[in-house]
């Protein structure tokens, strides 16, 4: 691996999507857990635990998409036009979820709130699932023609391995959301979340084990680089330890550390994905010679350089004020008149 601009942007796009998973991951997880809540008061607490931050978290996806468009336009064009229906579904899921948060509290009627509760939960689960399926397809490889265009169909995207990754992503986000919820709630709801979190952890650990096995058996190119460079196994090890540390911290009631471990799990998973994917942006299966790489899919060096300056100025500022905002909203949720 040589550190040229293309590789740096490969990493930066990965960082943006990892940021999205760590932040919007708990929003989507809270949305999925919303299904299990029963009382209006509980639902409001759940919604308001993510209330101030969900909008900002979704911006990571928007910026990740923008960065992909700018840095690797060919990969963006091939994947987005190839995954047309799946992405339109993702958009509808995200729209419903977003407006459900905004609209739910505006009217007190039971049917009104019920409708948006369903929209919020279904939108969250579907978003997580589709994001996972998309990741699964990219990991497994998709058919690409010699012209660089997607050569499959909507249903060819729904094969077992991508679907497995979709379910694993739902599990991961539910666990992440439940742990986040623990930090934000108190009393009865907190106790409920503790039970759900335990189930979610088990759900995720099982999914993660199956996914790991399936990847090693059926997607061998996703383990190739680590096989060639054994020292990279340390990242796989770190991933295992991060996963193992979640129930440990959870058991001791150290929710913040459990949350950090969950973040570390995502970070190491994305790192493993990126390391084995590199230098492919979109791996072509069955014809690897048609793959889109970080070179044949990239923008010009001039643009990658200009954008590195933009990112260099923008990203530290974003990180600084995002941290401040999370700090301001730390602690347990209180529902009041301005709340959702």
């Amino acid at each position: 691996m040589n550190f040229d601009l293309n590789s740096i942007w490969f990493i930066l796009v990965g960082v943006l999507f990892t940021g999205y998973a760590m932040l919007d991951g708990f929003d989507l997880g809270i949305g999925a857990l919303h299904l299990f809540t029963r009382k209006d008061e509980e639902r409001r607490v759940m919604l308001n635990s993510i209330g101030p931050v969900w909008d900002g978290n979704e911006v990571w996806l928007v910026t990740g998409g923008g960065a992909l468009f700018a840095a690797f336009p060919n990969a963006y064009a091939t994947v987005f036009s190839g995954f047309y229906l799946a992405l339109i579904l993702l958009l509808f899921a995200l729209i419903f979820r977003g407006v459900a948060i905004e609209f739910r509290s505006k009217q007190p009627m039971y049917w009104w709130r019920q409708m948006w509760d369903i929209g919020f939960a279904a939108g969250s689960i579907l978003s997580a699932l589709l994001i996972g399926v998309a990741m699964g397809n990219i990991a497994y490889g998709i058919p690409i023609g010699p012209d660089g265009e997607f050569a499959g169909s909507f249903f060819s995207l729904l094969t077992p391995y991508p679907l497995l990754l979709g379910v694993t992503t739902v599990a991961l986000f539910m666990m992440h959301g439940a742990i986040y919820g623990l930090m934000k709630t108190e009393g009865e709801l907190h106790d409920k979340l503790r039970r759900w979190a335990m189930n979610a952890i088990i759900f995720f650990v099982v999914c993660a084990a199956i996914t790991t096995m399936a990847t090693l058996l059926y997607v061998p190119h996703m383990a190739e680089r680590i096989k060639d460079h054994p020292w990279l196994f340390s990242i796989a090890l770190a991933n295992m330890l991060a996963i193992a540390n979640i129930p440990r911290e959870f058991y001791h009631g150290r929710d913040w550390y459990a949350f950090l471990s969950s973040c570390a799990t995502m970070l190491t998973l994305m790192a493993l994905f990126g390391i084995n994917q590199y230098p492919y942006m979109v791996y072509s299966q069955p014809n690897p010679e048609n793959s889109l790489t970080i070179y044949n899919a990239a923008s010009s060096h001039k643009t990658l350089g200009v954008m590195l300056v933009i990112a260099g100025i923008g990203v530290p500022a974003v990180l600084a004020y995002t941290t401040c905002i999370y700090w301001i909203f730390r602690g347990k949720v209180k529902v009041d008149r301005m709340s959702y």
Partner: protein, 462 residues
Amino acid sequence: MDVLTLSRIQFGLTIGFHYIYPPLSIGLGVMLVIMEACWLKTNNAVYHQMAKFWTNVFALTFALGVATGIVMEFEFGTNWATYSRFVGDVFGSALAAEGIFAFFLESGFLAILLFGWDKVSRKVHFFSTCMVCLGAHFSAVWITVANSWMQTPAGYHLVGAGMHQRAEITDFWAMVFSPSSGDRLFHTLCGAWQAGAFLVVSVSAYYLLTKKHQEFARRSLRIGLSVALIASLLQGVSGHLSGQEVARYQPAKLAAFEGLYTTESNAPLTLFGYVDEQDHKVIGVEAPDLLSFLAHDDFHSTVTGLDAFPPEDRPPVEASFLFFHGMVGIGCLLILIAAAGTWFAWRKVLHQKRWMLWILVFSVLGPEIANQLGWFAAEVGRQPWIVYGLMRTPAGLSAVVKANTVLTSLVLFTLIYFLLLALFIYLLNHKIQHGPHDDDLVPAGKLALPGPLSHGHKKSAS
């Protein structure tokens, strides 16, 4: 219908629906900054009440703006993949800059604006409001830069050939300051300020008419009318500048706007009328020589007509003409309305002029419609090009997407967007009927005023 028509309808529908919200966010952002500044300066709790009420409306428009905005970013790739490959190097970087500089700023500080009233001090809250407003403006900057490059490409060179040809940046700043970007940004922002200001004006006039929340309404109206008048007058200036820029860099578009089929000197300006596309003429009321003057500052100058372009390079004339004239007509009307409203308010007789208040109530539709028509005119007038002079619209389509796939998504978008629009209007109306909250006259928590002052205002409020 073919993929091209369906994709164009879908993009038009989704961008048109999206563009209801960002101008309101930008305009309301400015109004919020002014209201909170007044509160900080005067300590009058009515301004706190105003800021809080309009923050709620802002949140509604912002949420819909975000939800419908993600669609736009995805659609470049889903429906216009070949276009995305062609412009990614140029357009993509402006879009990424928008994400990093604008969206994070806006959505991050919105958290404090909405939910931080009693968590931070007044000054920090005011700072957050300013950042949200700035973020909204930045997003207008970058998206207008990207769109202006599609109108007047600059700072690039073409690399490769045939299907693999694309534009690459040679000079980033030349791309950012393409010939039209400055004028068009100014024009877009004025339209957004008008949208925000007239919304405040409309709601306040409604309260005055129904004799509700009088103190709140009077002060809101004063701020709203001032911004509306300034923005409308600036919009006149900016419209003229934009027109001259179009005359210089996109003459075919100007000719379509004005229905000018033949190149001529002393070209007349059609004030009202319609285009007879069959006979290549415009029927209506004309002001002699005025178009020549407006386009080139000289009554005798020559204005390029559509005959200077081969038929396959001409935009649709009738639609461009109607959209453009509709926009200009509404723009002029808004100047009159804002001026009349300000005049009556100045003479302190506005509350007696019920007819004027009714006009003000409906004035909110003006900027909304004009903003839509303006974008239609700008985009339709650029046809048949997706990137002016470089790439034709049909060439930008995704290669692998089929017509019935687009039809499916188009039907779904139409259903969902009409539902969202209905809900938006319903909730906006609900908020307006509900009005400002009296509790907000007594700021609580960290925002509470120092003892004696807050006491005084509690009295005056009750």
